[in-house]
């Protein structure tokens, strides 16, 4: 560690955000990295902890103290090597990860955490700028082939890793381009889509094949897929929406957030000259000039606000079931080093719109089959499972468009999953304790296996799954000798560990904590 007293000398300097009044008019990335000197100084705030909780907080186990120190020492290229050693796509996590590492940073106990995510982004940016990141195809091929279904972060990670071990990988994607929700859910303001294309191009150069517009279970039968490959990995995400079970849900103008985000991302793509299909006529979701009510206070809800404002919405209101966050941003239920289950502030609200905490939607009001507004009440409680209505707090709000952003429940079962006939767990996810499903040679990872989670978790899932698949295909020396479960003996420890909590944080969060449907009280 270069500067043992760096954290005492320097304050945290985070991302440089653009002026909200300006950025709300375009779709470009809304923040930027500070200058080099600042970045190196910020690296020097890292304390090289005896127990780097950040590394535990990071689902990937990124070697955070190592690369912080290398950046501080101006040794960017080595930093990049260490960064890539645990993370295939640091440019994705550097941009959109909620950074559970930073909430676990020891400095977060009584100071501001190290700007870990920003340093991560800086390293990978530097790597691309300097031309250090180039394709490195495997030296030899194993002769085995693997089919990966889904090109979200989990699918991309499992493909990249297996390819590195010499296996020939084909990724099947039913949409028109790679990335899954990275591409269709996350707005460009946070992740410009050329960044995904850049990485995918490298993967292709390294030998990964991509087939877009192929719906496995539809266009391509599962039997056909298994025929083609020695192993199959299901990385299909968790795409079945959680719904708001309230009266009036079926009126027009009430949509799932993801439907809206898909359309907006395709719109931006077309604007930028990339191919993207137009929405089916009659199914366009337009926020321009409307009062938009978003139900659900997570990232998805925020992304809806961001898009709606850019589209020219008249006004936006976000209804969040939770009480406001304490001043220090850390609720009592998630003491350090746990990741807070909620986003303390978001970029979108800086650009406009309003958020109301502690509110529960009880009814959607429509007229002539079109939405007019929502009715709700104020609630108290720390978990969506024990909210209590505050008597007399009922309210109603006008709404022209209601977007439901309360998460997903499990992967789609129709099609591939049914055809495979794999076992599911109690929550409807693919059951694959050590990544292999109940069908030999069929593996699962990412949201499809654990329920919806973070991009960083998806990448970690993909990487671990790749080790299991690699071992299945013959694998390297050390892993052959141990049972698959032991591969992670030291990484995963106890399934009830804090790390597990961190990794599944958003599963719980988005699935439960942001749940805002009415619930019988009693």
């Amino acid at each position: 560690m270069g500067d043992p007293r760096g954290f005492l000398r320097l304050e945290r300097v985070g991302f440089q955000k653009r002026d909200p009044r300006e950025r709300v008019h375009d779709y470009r990335q809304y923040f930027a990295l500070p200058d080099d000197r600042t970045l190196r100084d910020q690296g020097g705030r890292c304390m090289d902890c005896g127990v780097p909780f950040c590394q535990e907080g990071c689902p990937l186990g990124n070697k955070i103290p190592d690369w912080n120190d290398l950046v501080y020492g101006d040794r960017w290229r080595e930093a990049l090597t260490h960064l890539h050693a645990t993370n295939n796509f640091p440019e994705f996590t550097g941009l959109i990860c909620p950074a559970p590492c930073e909430s676990a940073c020891v400095l977060d106990i009584n100071d501001d955490p190290v700007t870990i995510e920003q340093i991560e982004l800086a390293i990978v940016t530097r790597g691309f700028d300097e031309g250090w990141i180039v394709a490195s195809p495997p030296a030899s091929r194993s002769g085995h082939t693997v089919g990966v279904v889904g090109s979200g972060p989990a699918g991309l990670a499992v493909a990249a890793e297996l390819n590195r071990h010499g296996h020939s990988v084909t990724v099947y994607e039913r949409d028109e381009g790679p990335g899954g929700l990275l591409r269709f859910g996350v707005p460009d303001a946070k992740l410009e889509k050329w960044i995904i294309d850049r990485r995918v191009a490298l993967l292709e150069e390294e030998g990964v094949a991509f087939e877009y517009g192929v719906d496995v279970g539809g266009d391509l039968s599962v039997a056909g897929l298994r025929e083609r490959h020695d192993a199959v990995v299901m990385a299909i995400g968790s795409r079945v929406h959680r719904d708001l079970e309230v009266p009036g849900r079926d009126v027009a103008g009430v949509h799932f957030a993801m439907e809206y985000l898909y359309q907006r991302n395709r719109f931006v793509a077309r604007e930028e000259g990339r191919f993207a299909p137009e929405p089916v006529p009659g199914e366009e979701i337009v926020a321009a000039g409307k009062r938009v009510v978003v139900v659900g206070g997570g990232d998805t809800g925020m992304d809806c606000i961001s898009n709606a404002l850019r589209e020219g919405a008249e006004d936006v209101l976000l209804l969040d079931v939770y009480p406001p966050l304490p001043a220090d941003g850390r609720p009592a239920s998630t003491p350090w080093p746990l990741p807070p289950k909620r986003t303390p502030t978001t970029y979108a609200l800086e650009e406009g719109g309003d958020r109301r905490f502690g509110t529960q939607v009880t009814r959607i009001v429509g007229e002539n089959g079109r939405v007019l507004g929502v009715e709700g009440r104020e609630v108290q409680g720390t978990s969506s499972r024990d909210v209590h209505a505050i008597p007399g707090s009922e309210f109603s709000e006008r709404a022209d468009l209601v977007l439901i952003a309360i998460g997903f429940s499990h992967p789609e079962h129709e099609g591939a999953v049914e055809q495979l006939g794999v076992d599911l767990d109690a929550r409807g996810n693919l059951k694959a304790a050590v990544y292999e499903t109940s069908r030999r040679g069929v593996f699962a990872c990412g949201d499809a296996r654990i329920g919806q989670s973070l991009v960083v978790t998806a990448i970690a899932e993909g990487r671990r799954c790749a080790r299991v698949v690699d071992r299945f295909l013959g694998g390297p020396g050390e892993t052959r000798n141990v049972p698959a479960s032991a591969l992670f003996a030291f990484e995963d420890g106890d399934p009830h560990s804090l790390r597990h909590q961190a990794e599944t944080a958003r599963t719980v969060t988005v699935g439960d904590a942001f749940w805002s449907g009415p619930r019988e009280e009693g």
Binding site: P4, R5, F7, L8, M47, D48, C49, G50, V51, P52, F53, Q55, E56, G57, G61, K63, P65, D66, G73, R75, E78, T81, H82, A85, A104, V106, L107, I109, N110, D111, A139, P335, W336, P337, L338, P476, G477, E478, N481, A486, A489, F490, E491, G493, D494, H496, S497, L498, R499
Partner: protein, 1490 residues
Amino acid sequence: MAPPYGRAPRGLYDPTYEHDACGVAFVARLGAPASHEVISRALWALEHLEHRGAEGADPDTGDGAGILIQLPDEFLRAEAGVDLPELGRYGVAMCFLPRDVDACGEAERLLEQTVAAEGQHVLGWRDVPVDEEHCGVVAGAAAPRIRQLLVAAGDGVEDRDAFERKLYVIRRVVEKHDFPDLAIASFSSRTVVYKGMLTALQLSRYYPDLKDPRVSSRMALVHSRFSTNTFPSWELAHPYRMLAHNGEINTLRGNRNWHRARELTLASPLFGDDIEKIRGLLRDDISDSASLDGLMELLVLGGRSPAHAMSMLIPEAHQGRPELSREVRDFYAYHSSLIEPWDGPAAVAFTDGRVIGATLDRNGLRPGRWVVTRDGWVVLASETGVLKASDDQIVAKGRLRPGKLFLVDLERDRIVPDDEVKASLARRQPYGEWLHDRVVHIEDLPDKSPRVPRVEPLRAKQLAFGWTEEDLRVILEPMARDGAEPTGSMGNDVALASISDRRPPLFSYFKQLFAQVTNPAIDPIRESVVMSLAAVIGPEINLLDETPDHCHQLVIPQPILRSAQLEKLRQVDHSVFEARTIDMTWPAAEGEAGMERRLEEMCREASELVARGVNIIILSDRNLGPERAAMPSLLAVAAVHQHLVREGTRLQIGLLVETGEAREIHHIATLIGYGAAAVNPYVMLESLYALQRDGRLPDGVSPEEAVDRVIKAIGKGLLKILSKMGISTIRSYTGAQIFEAVGVRKDVIDRHFTGTPSRVEGIGLDAIAREALDRHARAYPAAVSELLPAGGLYAWRRRGEYHGWNPETIATLQHAARGEDGADSYRRFATYVNYVAVRNTAFRGLLRFRDDVERVPLDEVEPASEVVKRFKSGGMSLGALSPEAHETLAVGMNRLGGMSNTGEGGEDPARYGDERRSAIKQVASGRFGVTVSYLVNADELQIKVAQGAKPGEGGQLPGHKVDRYIAGLRHSTPGVGLISPPPHHDIYSIEDLKQLIYDLRCANPRARISVKLVSEVGVGTVAAGVAKANADHVVIAGHDGGTGAAPQASIHHAGIPWEIGLAETQQTLLRNDLRSRVLVEVDGQMRTGRDVAIGAILGADEFGFGTAPLIALGCVMMRVCHLNTCPVGVASQDPELRRRFDGQPEHVVNYMFMVADETRRIMAALGVRSIAELIGRTDLLVPDEGVDHWKARGIDLRPLLHVPEDVGDGPRHCVRRPEPVLYDSIDVDLLQRARPAIEDGKHVRLERRIENKNRAVGALLSGEIARRHGGNGLPEGSIEIRLQGSAGQSFGAWLAGGVTLLLEGDANDYTGKGMSGGTLVVSPSAETTFRAEDNVVVGNVVLYGATAGRAFFRGLAGERFAVRNSGVIAVVEGIGDHGCEYMTGGRVVVLGPTGLNFAAGMSGGIAYVFDVDGGFRSRCNTELVGFDEITPDEALELRGWIEEHAERTGSAVAERILAGWDAQLGRFVKVMPHDYKRALLELTQEEVPA
């Protein structure tokens, strides 16, 4: 868990680890015939050393006493009942025979037949009368039948020496029969030994012979023994046949091994064919003293003089000692080619019947005082005051000096001075010439370009040898940067190697042993003058001869070879040496079995090479590659070494290792410890080039420079490792096997690591090979990553080694201690610790509680409030911890009813009276702030002999943590780092510990006295010794304890788990019937109630928690305690960081109560109602068959659960206090008489005579004064006590303000220990006629840890005068070596000669030395001090002290100096520590603006 061999569980006690120490003395009479008076004076001396011996559970059974005298010819002629030939033609065997009549007859026949077979004549037997009344019950039950066999010389025996040899051969032949219960205490025509398991007082009563006036001698050697154990053994009493020994040979295992290897080459015309009958001399089951005696005898009977033999076996430090003559240095250098030193603290008195002498180890770690009188009496003893002689009869008084001989030649009737003895030895042969002609130096060999089998990329090699990123970042980089081994913090909580899944190197299975209590660690930094790294490589030949060829060996200054140097050796001209390489790699494709095959092949190859005349063998793993895996180099070295030792050819070759695996100092130490003469760690050195290329070395440091620094760092580190075992030279460390294996199977140990303790089985060769292959697979066929594995040993890392303190356990503990849902979080925490963390790291994770016992209801179990009374917090100093953290912890522990521990940094007196007071006050080697008021404000006084994180080393506090407050409490200098001495300078042996316990008890009779030890093999016997030394309490710490700062190697590689040490302690105490009188505490990563319950079951009454309560208070295991940057303010003195501390006493209280509650639940499930009931119930634990780990499967923990046979139903825990010991203190009387001063402020004057049995005079009185009047004591001069005689040890200890002790006579060691005020004056009696300034008046280690007061000594003092003085003003007339060592305050005036190494580690205070010979500056260690001008103000002050000295003592030297003051002032040298000067300057500068 299936037992590996299904053998019956065996206990952990092993008699091999018994220790002893003692008092020794001899009396000789010059210029007078043999007399009985010699014997009676010797016995009188022995009785005055009684307090140095010990008794066991049966107070009448002594550990052993004995006497060696010349054959009493007149007496024997009268009593033998047979006609004796002339003196010199008959010999006497003193035989201990079996009690059983038949067996006795058989033994006697064996003796008689052997005598006859060897051509001598049996004259007859004499029954030695004994009085069984004077013998303890236990000793009596084991007493042998004692008879003397009289033997006449055969006709063929030419002279007396030949006869002595013949008697020796007979004895050896008999000994080899191993006849049960037969021992020959002596067998000589010159001497006879009377000894037994007796106390000093019993000896002459038991043997009426000794009181018979016809029994006469010109000399007598006596010894009183203090053994750690009291198992019946009459044979182990001293003297042996030629010597009596007060000390301990630390290198014993190596010395024995090397002797075994040497035996085949022994040849001597004096012995002829009889040499065959002698072989097998040093059996494993004989003690160190007996072994030393055996070798001494061999050398002397083989033709060397006793002085010559002694100088070979215990040579003085001779390297870098220009004051020794060239010839003497050559003599030592030459003999170092013949034999390695027998190293360790030792005062050895020896005799062959013609000369009698004594010597001291090179460190001077034992006392020896001598007196010579006008009428020819010479008395040498461990203490002064054992001679009955009037003061006016004394001609000279002196002391044994390190490495010097004190020799009385009875035939020539004179005392031969050391320099004369040495000079004559050095002139025996042209040793210098021989060395010049035959010794080979590496620099003299021609350079050669390498012939390396293959060139592999560095990264592949690093991966295949198991290197980690941490090895580079945490170990190698700091070594290359600082030239010193790196420091870490917070101890070791990682998995034991034997249950780690990270493929740790084999080195990690071997833990360094260290000295504790029975022998001291030594100080490689401050006392480097006695240390040596010089290694000797090459063949050795016949020990009984001396020729030029004996020194035809390669000598290197330190044992690390650069690659180019190794290459020179490999290709050396065959006329010089013939070197060959043996390949340590095997075909990876052959799998695990291939390694064992290769190992066998290597041994065969080595034998063949030896047979072909090769004399240097290089074991190399350079041949590592894709197809060839490297076996652990340690295994290869140990296997080849042991193979050749067994074969008897080991000494024909020098063994070198060329390995890429070694990367830590510990690795190199193990290679040397198992037989390698030198190591070439080539990947370690090559890695430095890569580091430089990557910009990871500081700017401007070239790779070559980095190599130099790393080699320097390894050298320092090796010295530290050997010194913690009390060993001074690498020469005697080589092959000494001073390690304990943890988790290695017995068959591997027995075959390849023969003699190494390994007590719980573990992995076999297959698993060792498996780990090697797995490491190999990281690199081949292809590396998966260009990065090395993270490592995770020194700091937790994902995918790194498992840590007991990890994010999960730390966070859940904090949530539990702090949260409202504490119980829930605690349950999570405990579950995770008990079933995940502990299983992955510690042996107790492999045990489970019985589940088939009847439960008791929870409410019948003693309440948590009772359980917590047994909880202590660990000894963590204020200094290491912030004041906030230290006080919060103390308040928390006090509120819950437990006890907190000050640690070694003292305590703010402001805390004495309230709940911030720590009930346990620690007394560590640095004695920081150990004042008499500190001592009286304690409920428990804990002597920290060792601590888990760095046993064998002192605590360290870096300078940036020593702010003004901390420095004030420690009586040291702000900003100056503090390293405590490795040993307590008043505990060099078990009898010293007994003395310190006595001293502390005097200071505070109400406190219980505790001794803290660290788990290692033999800790049980040490604990038994501690109990016998009258301690109330003993702590057994695990290897894994936390710490502020320590060298990484010590944190990780020294000490073993407490489970083993505690079980061994419990078993040993039970066997000795000592368990019921001592409390046992355990500590080391205690976290949960399960830990507590297992600790109790294995034998603990109390439980220490170190890290856990700190974590409750906010510690997050940053491991930066040594950097002062703790971000949560727990372990920092930085004001900004201290503000961040947010721990509350309640956090500690909550946590401890939850632990207690968990313990109660476990007790309920086990059907036990209290901790007291649980202690020792090993029947409630079983090995957990549910743990199915591939390595842990081989571990057998049943020995931990063993209960010794013959242990009745008596209590297995402490039920009573030790025997009172203070009733005999003269202070009881002094205190009574001083009451008017203490209570009414009157002046009191007292007078008394004292003798050396009166120890710690003044301490009890001082304690009472401090209790009544606080730290400052009484007004100056309130109590004045005039004493006459020889004072016992610790005279004036802890002396309180207001007391003046004036002694006329002399005093022993530790005078003025811990003085806290008052005035101490020692001067010879007015009747003496010798020159006071030339004679010794006080012993060694005077004013150790003194904090205030004044002291005046008219005469010389011994070694280590004023060590750790931090406030006393002292005047003395001359001192020995290491004066003012570690001093941090006070003033010392020396008016006469000084020894070597003055001012080592001195960081405060000032010394004024009158430079008598102009050579003082060269004898001063100027690392930390400079020589300064004496200002006029100072001159005035100095003159004042000298005037006071003259006035109080009548000093002639002082008078002379004062008489010519103006001229004499210029001869004073002022010794000023640099840092002290800076601090004083800062102080004045700060005062000016104000």
